[in-house]
């Protein structure tokens, strides 16, 4: 980790490697850089980066009101993106801002709004709407034998259809925070950020193995559509492909930009992968079902 000289708007620049990208973050918010040091281990923070794929900043807004209630903004290339948030939400603003920046600019990949995990050389893509229990499931599986490639964005190489790792901190919300604290007592988690638009959020550091294998792509084998229901018995069921394909298209980040090439890539992916629906109520049961899936 290295702090560089103050830049034009003030603040130090911290270079973070996240998946195939280097993010140059300029900020003066010490609590943010302290939290990032905790979540992004030293090994993945570039100490000699003269180049960054993304130049972002998290800065305090100016004005009298901001002295009473400090507000911060996220910038990409000097332009504000996303709505400003209270200073106490700097960590979530940074994480959401980086995800937003990647999803808006990385068009050399087909990008889906889905998590990816891998075991035994085969990867599962998990698309899900907010509140479906995707991040909880992925966090649990990542600490029980599966490698985390991504919690939020699936990057697909349009030529090889391989999945590119983007193992960023896992965003846990509300009840999921205590569930994962109990499930993985020694996991490194950020402080809780309260009153966000998603409720209380805490970020979970990915397992070391997922971070260390950040350049190792994976071959997709399954699409798994998870839903959490307290009463549900953990169960995988085949689901028809056409409806799943359309649901994924509607929720894809940049499918519309790639035109026919995007259709062919996603359709080829569906040809290769089994399509499964997964309902679960208990994380322990989910781990067992996924272990059987990996062994199948």
């Amino acid at each position: 980790m290295q702090f560089r000289r103050p830049e034009r708007h003030g603040g130090d620049t911290l270079f973070l490697r996240t998946g195939p990208f280097i993010v140059g973050l300029t900020t003066r918010i010490g609590a943010l850089t302290a939290a990032l040091r905790q979540l992004y281990p030293v090994a993945i923070v570039s100490d000699a980066a003269a180049f960054a794929d993304f130049h972002v900043a998290v800065r305090r807004m100016e004005g009298v009101r901001c002295w009473i209630k400090p507000i911060i903004r996220f910038e990409h290339d000097g332009v504000q993106v996303l709505r400003p948030l209270p200073l106490s939400q700097a960590l979530t603003l940074f994480e959401w801002g980086v995800n937003f920046t990647i999803s808006q600019t990385v068009h050399n990949y087909l990008v889906l709004h889905a998590a990816v995990i891998e075991r035994g050389g085969r990867a599962a893509i998990l698309p899900a709407a907010s509140g479906a229990g995707k991040s909880t499931l992925v966090a649990g599986l990542a600490y029980r034998g599966w490698r985390l490639l991504s919690d939020e964005l699936t990057l697909i190489d349009l030529d090889t259809l391989e999945l590119i790792p983007l193992a960023r901190p896992i965003s846990l919300k509300n009840r999921s925070i205590s569930i994962i604290r109990d499930f993985v007592p020694d996991a490194v988690m950020s402080h809780e950020v309260k009153n966000t638009i998603k409720g209380t959020v805490a970020l979970l550091r990915p397992p070391e193995d997922s971070i260390n294998r950040a350049s190792e792509t994976a071959k997709p084998a399954w699409f798994v559509f998870p839903t959490w229901n307290a009463e549900a018995r953990a169960e995988l069921r085949p689901v028809e492909k056409a409806g799943s394909f359309m649901a994924l298209c509607r929720n894809a980040v940049n499918y519309h930009i790639h035109g026919r090439r995007g259709f062919d890539a996603l359709a080829d992916l569906f040809d290769r992968c089994a399509c499964l629906q997964f309902r679960y109520g208990s994380l322990d049961d989910a781990v067992e079902v996924f272990a059987r899936l990996a062994a199948s």
Binding site: E240, A242, M246, F263, A267, F270
Partner: protein, 90 residues
């Protein structure tokens, strides 16, 4: 012009029984084709065909629940697919 109907050259598709997904370059839209529209499109994936041939095949294969005649249903379906730039007359 033969008058036969065919899938347009700029259309990509996959048949995942019982349904079909199709992408039209012309409109940059993706469609989920089910029921009669899926059946007609699937028929045309084999080879171009006249409306009469499609109607005859539909009559022999399908049990349509529509109050309309098979001819009307097939004609409307072809028009619907053509409007979405998925099929065209040769």
């Amino acid at each position: 012009m033969t008058g036969d109907w065919a899938i347009r050259d700029d259309v990509g598709w996959r048949v995942w029984d019982p349904d079909i997904i199709a992408y039209a370059d012309g409109s940059d839209e993706t469609f989920h084709l089910a029921d009669i529209s899926g059946w007609v499109f699937a028929y045309l994936t084999r080879r171009p065909a006249s409306e009469g041939e499609i109607v005859a095949a539909a009559r022999a294969t399908l049990a349509l629940a529509s109050s309309e005649s098979v001819e009307t249903v097939v004609r409307k379906t072809l028009a619907h697919l053509a409007e979405r730039q998925l099929v065209a007359q040769l």
